[in-house]
């Protein structure tokens, strides 16, 4: 039953990667913007939660509740005042800006918090586990996975059931025609990035409770997020979860064979999927 255990751990780990990826997928899906600072934003949010837990003495979950609206506002402002100015036919300027932002965030965090490893203390939850009969799983991985599903369901509800989601999809399809409907595309983009930063805060919460983090780990989180998004097919949130799960499972099996192979196995799985399905598992019909 070792392999079953490995499989379940891998699937649950995929939930964390899906959380990393959901915000990236959201922003890319709506405005075709590849945010190279996404991983660093997750780390930034993790430090924000840490700061709130330390200064107010709150549990990380409560701290994240405070951090989320702040991150929304920061994301909104970033899009409104910086990224909207560089969005256009040429994809290079936004790439450069987010790359610069990535470097700036890493160095800013290094200045503010030093290179020391940090962790969000979640109390007894960290080590609690539940016996599911065939396998025993930790509460934390289970909660992470459930949260990933809840985030995706929630985002899909927003996308397909609300007026805001309608505006998101219309603007993504055709910003000029959307503006003829009275929708300001740049305002929609700002809301989308704000929403993505809320998802980033949730990802940061689980990242920080499950593992150590320091200012330098953002780019690696970005890679996992990228791989999950691309495996799933650009713009499909359920595909992103599937992509996260594939990387997670590959990593746990790789690690089961040889602990040094964990990271490599994830990247290999990504390459294999890309070879077999260059457009990902669930590509959007219109692109």
């Amino acid at each position: 039953m070792i392999w079953l255990d490995t499989l379940v751990q891998g699937i649950l780990l995929g939930g964390l990667y899906a959380l990393f990826a959901a915000g990236l997928s959201l922003v890319f899906g709506i405005m075709r913007l590849v945010n190279l600072a996404h991983g660093d934003m997750i780390v930034f949010a993790a430090f924000a939660i840490l700061l709130i837990t330390q200064t107010l003495g709150l549990h990380p979950f409560l701290a994240a509740l405070i951090a989320a609206p702040v991150m929304f506002a920061l994301g909104w402002a970033l899009q409104r005042f910086v990224l909207n100015r560089v969005l256009g036919k040429d994809i290079l300027p936004p790439l450069l800006v987010t790359f610069g932002l990535s470097v700036a965030l890493q160095n800013g965090l290094l200045q503010g918090f030093s290179a020391d490893s940090q962790r969000l203390a979640a109390g007894p939850l960290e080590s609690a586990s539940v016996d599911l009969g065939l396998v025993t799983v930790g509460w934390m991985p289970l909660l992470t996975f459930a949260t990933a599903i809840a985030v995706i369901v929630g985002l899909n509800q927003i996308f397909y059931r609300t007026a805001l989601g309608r505006a998101f999809r219309a603007t993504s399809d055709d910003p000029v025609t959307a503006s003829l409907m009275g929708i300001a595309p740049k305002g929609v983009f700002a809301l989308a990035t704000g929403l993505a930063m809320v998802v980033v805060t949730i990802a940061a919460l689980y990242l920080g409770m499950r593992s150590n983090f320091d200012p330098s780990i953002g780019p690696a989180r970005l890679i996992y997020a990228f791989e999950a998004v691309i495996i799933g097919g650009l713009g499909s949130l359920w595909g992103t979860l599937a992509g996260g799960v594939i990387i997670g499972v590959a990593q746990t099996f790789g690690a089961a064979i040889n602990p040094e192979w964990q990271i490599l196995a994830g990247h290999l799985a990504f390459l294999v999927v890309l070879l077999l399905r260059p457009r990902g598992l669930f590509p959007r019909a219109v692109d």
């Binding site: 007026a163 309608r166 505006a167 999809r169 219309a170 993504s172 399809d173 055709d174 000029v176 025609t177 959307a178 503006s179 003829l180 409907m181 009275g182 929708i183 300001a184 019909a285 219109v286």
Partner: protein, 234 residues
């Protein structure tokens, strides 16, 4: 005047497409704008809606300068557009395409989902289908319905007959009297001259970025139109 352009000159980068266009639209009036390919008809509508920005006082809405406003603001003033090529949103169902037309601005008025389905009953049956899965004529109905959902005071229609079979064009034009009767002022841009004249009060003919003829729709002669359309003698 509900809408007016004054010495409107519009350009795509270095390329000048309009050379001092003056048109007027009175409340409740229907005006046809005809002209050959590339005459500048769509450019004129893009300038009115703000997709192309110009000097503020080149376009006036109720006497106020709107030439430099972005499209989302122009639309909220009650100027709705049925764009050339229909431009339905592929990710949205038929009903969502209609709803989004009235999402930001919904003035009080006769148009609602139910009223649009009354006008184009076929859309009700297809309401959950993706907008772009419909036939060309049905897509045009959605595009018109989408623009009406805001209860606009000015409706701009860019070649609503484009690429459609004559019977379908007839069905679509059959809806125009109902739209006009609600008091909405309409500009129809058309290449189908007879069709345009049949619904319009007045007609402008454009050629190479200029207005070459202004006339009442009833009473204008073929020779006059031919002269304005092609520049040569009839």
């Amino acid at each position: 005047m509900i809408l007016e352009t004054r010495a409107l000159t519009a350009a795509y980068g270095q390329f000048r497409a309009l050379f001092g266009v003056d048109i007027t639209l009175a409340a409740g009036e229907t005006v046809a704008i005809i002209g050959a390919n590339g005459a500048g008809k769509s450019t004129l509508l893009r300038s009115i809606t703000g997709v192309l920005r110009n000097a503020p006082d080149m376009v006036l809405h109720r006497g106020e300068p709107i030439g430099a406003l972005p499209p989302e603001i122009v639309m909220r003033r009650g100027i709705a557009m049925v764009p050339e090529g229909r431009k339905l949103f592929p990710s949205l169902s038929v009903e969502e395409n209609l709803l989004i037309g009235g999402q930001v601005r919904r003035a009080p008025g006769p148009w609602s989902l139910a009223a649009i389905y009354d006008l184009f009953p076929i859309l009700q049956a297809k309401r959950l289908a993706p907008g772009t899965s419909l036939s060309g004529g049905q897509q045009q109905m959605v595009a018109i319905g989408r623009a009406l959902m805001s209860n606009p005071e000015v409706l701009l229609c860019d070649e609503i007959s484009l690429g459609l079979a004559p019977v379908v064009i007839r069905d679509i034009y059959a809806a125009l009297p109902a739209i006009k009767s609600t008091g909405t002022a309409v500009i129809v841009v058309e290449q189908d001259i007879a069709r345009a004249l049949s619904v319009a009060d007045r007609v402008y003919c454009m050629m190479e970025g200029r207005v070459t003829l202004t006339a009442p729709a009833q009473g204008v002669t073929r020779a006059e139109i031919h002269q304005a359309y092609f520049g040569g003698a009839a």
